[in-house]
Symmetry: C2
Subunit: 130 residues, 2 copies
DNA sequence: TTCCTACTTGCACATCTGTTCAGAGGGTGA
DNA sequence: TCACCCTCTGAACAGATGTGCAAGTAGGAA
């Protein structure tokens, strides 16, 4: 998942330190933009979310689950992965609430958690197909 | 970026091989879902795109650029990163067409490339704030 | 109970990622 | 031309990720 390397100890850069060695030129820009920069916590959460979607196998799993509820071994067969790998990846999706699951007898059935995934999917497809 | 480990040589799994050792139970499901599973190439592309957004620093950079066009050293100051690191990350964003840039004198000014990013941002915020 | 099946988890390993450092462009102005 | 500034790039490193294996858990059947 996304790394927890948010605090960069090097280059502390006081709030009004000069930028680019000699440039007072752009200091205004920096001051203007800085308060609008995504907060570290939120950036971290968002990065972790995107990170959950940043693996082709997980995307395949989601696309399969978007069709219908499936148990782990069916998923493994559908996307041609080992069951262990599927289980590992489902845990990632689960932890980001991208899928939900229910146990029925010996099987665990997974399905997509909500509609945001579908919207995201559409957005990205659009971007990629330009 | 996302790994290029899409072809898994283990567990080849012929199209109509039995699933879950003994289960003819779910074979129908697998057959039904399999053709709808995201194609490997597209899954790969999509994963790489999400991967570009899966780093908190890159998200911060984008949020800064969403405010206004900025040169590299201003960006570095705004998100408190080293300039080299910023340059490396901008390359990632650039290669996924999330930002565009123009050279003006000694500076290179970056800005967000299109509106999809904003939409994505909204979608994800919504999901995360539930 | 015991066995079997479906799934999960811990570990080790190979691979990938993001950072810093050092140095190389590329452009400006003297 | 040169010196300087801004930016980019390659190498090396630490840390993270995904996989298979092997062991473990949970539910159902005998």
């Amino acid at each position: 998942m996304a790394r927890a390397q948010l605090s960069n100890p090097k280059k502390p850069l006081a709030a009004d330190a000069p930028v680019c060695e000699a440039s007072l030129v752009h200091l205004d820009n920096v001051r203007q933009v800085q308060p609008e920069v995504l907060e570290t916590n939120q950036a971290q959460r968002m990065a972790e979310f995107f990170s959950a979607l940043s693996d082709p196998h997980r995307l395949k799993l989601l696309s399969a689950l978007a069709q219908q509820e499936l148990c782990v071994c069916d998923l493994a067969a559908a996307v041609k992965m080992g069951e262990s790998a599927v289980s590992h990846q489902l845990r990632v999706l689960r932890s980001h609430r991208l899928v939900k699951y229910r146990r029925q007898g010996r099987n665990v059935y997974y399905s997509v958690a909500d509609d945001h995934v579908a919207s995201l999917y559409r957005e990205v497809s659009e971007h990629l197909n330009e």
